[in-house]
Symmetry: C2
Subunit: 285 residues, 2 copies
């Protein structure tokens, strides 16, 4: 094993994801500490033996002891933390994150970060519809993807360690992508789908539609119940990749609209057959 379990792990932001990381790593015997904003989260995690110690303050000893630091914060909070507190990190520490957007965060952090600390970015593609350390679970990662997004500034060792971390946490699939490939993929598969769901849900406020709803409309709008604070920040943080995906979708949607206007049955059928073929690739294996 590349990751040495004698290393001390610090989790900054002990919520659903941070807590699940803690549980997943505790199984192997790592020493786990946490810095987070609510004392109740620390108390709960110590009581449940998820962490060994923790603080709601910027505890210099806890932060300075950590060999591996995992930031499980909103994007802008992560950047602010590094700007203000990176002096507290141990020389030689490896830091990583869980941020769902990469290009707009990764280069900024790597540019401002001390040269004796390395930031290797990662995105655990897992979540639940609940939040907080109380809902964390070390089996949330089984069946899910973990994406490491290194840049030219990263060392081969840091990449290997981060990949190993994903495997230790129990992710079924660990991949290495560039920040740009990651952002395109997330822009398409996750953010565009949320943009579509929200637009569909709000575009026609006619009353009593719910009386006639079938499963198609319900499926397309399940994710229209959305955490507005988080998603508005993620959309802006991935602005250019997301806008590109929105344009690709708009082009296709307008093409279909043109075919309906022109009553171009052959064109529509060709597009639908393409759709049917391509959808088959996305069935659960």
């Amino acid at each position: 094993m590349i990751v040495d379990i004698s290393k001390k792990v610090l989790i900054v932001g002990l919520g659903l994801l941070g807590g699940s990381y803690a549980k997943g790593l505790k199984r192997f015997g790592f020493h786990i500490s946490a810095i987070t904003k609510d004392q109740s989260s620390i108390d709960y995690a110590i009581k449940e033996n998820i962490i060994d110690e923790g603080s709601v303050e910027l505890d210099k000893r806890i932060i300075g002891d950590a060999d591996i630091v995992i930031f499980a914060l909103y994007p802008h909070t992560f950047v602010e933390w590094i700007e203000q507190n990176q002096g507290l990190l141990k020389s030689g520490a490896l830091i990583t994150d869980v941020t769902g957007v990469k290009g707009s965060i990764v280069y900024k952090i790597q540019e401002i970060l001390r040269s004796d600390v390395e930031f290797i970015p990662a995105h655990p593609m897992a979540g639940r519809e609940v939040s907080g350390v109380e809902n964390s679970t070390d089996n949330m990662f089984f069946g899910a993807n973990y994406i490491v997004t290194p840049t030219e500034k990263n060392t081969p060792d840091a990449i290997k360690n981060c990949v190993e971390l994903g495997r230790l946490l129990g992710f079924s699939n660990v991949e290495v992508l560039s920040p740009e490939e990651h952002d395109e993929m997330i822009g398409f598969l996750s953010q565009l789908t949320h943009c579509i769901a929200v637009s569909l849900m709000t575009c026609n406020d006619k009353e009593n539609m719910e009386k006639f709803t079938g499963d198609s409309f319900r499926d397309l709008t399940r994710i229209a119940r959305i955490n507005d604070l988080m998603w508005s920040e993620l959309f802006v943080a991935n602005k250019s990749a997301l806008l590109e995906q929105m344009d690709l979708f708009l082009n296709k949607f307008n093409e279909l609209k043109g075919m309906i206007e022109a009553e171009d049955i052959d064109g529509m059928r060709a597009m639908m057959r393409h759709s049917t073929r391509r959808r088959a690739l996305f069935d659960k294996k």
Copy 2:
């Protein structure tokens, strides 16, 4: 009961829906006959006691005997049948249908139909992902909506009989809407969602995206596996109502896109809160 079970019922088009109507009505003791294109469907339905008699020919006696005729055909096939064969219908017969679009069919049929036969349109909002009389089932309608869409030409008696037919078949909710209200509702809840799913599924052909797919994308594209023959015809048959819904969606999607471009966090959050509130109405009760 308004519908008299001594009346003879003819089903034209003995597939999944036609067969399910036959099964649903047979329970009450109606005499059921069928005209359909495959002899195997007739043979199966007689063997299974779903119908009393049937033919693949335009059997004058069978058609001329029927008091209630249910057309379970594709839209253009239904119109052609009436144009070519309405002379065979019994004077005083009541005819109804299962067509998923109304405005473009209902007025045309009522205009060309003999004055001694009444057409009362209906849309059973039920279906399965399989077809054929062999897959028909008389419990397909429980939990589903049945919409009667009369025009000014319809008599109160015909409307009552058609509503009663929906209740006999076991639909959980029977509603009366104008053809225009029906087409707007279907354009929004069903057709627009299919247009979105097909556009999303075909707008980015990048390889290996399926490796990273989560449930959001899968939910939004489940219906992108689509019967191209049927849906291209339904889209054209509901062209004006569908284009209106597509424009409503495009306006909202472009509004969201503008807010992302302008980094208008407050605007996005307001739209997402609207979306979250409205989605709650559509939860299964």
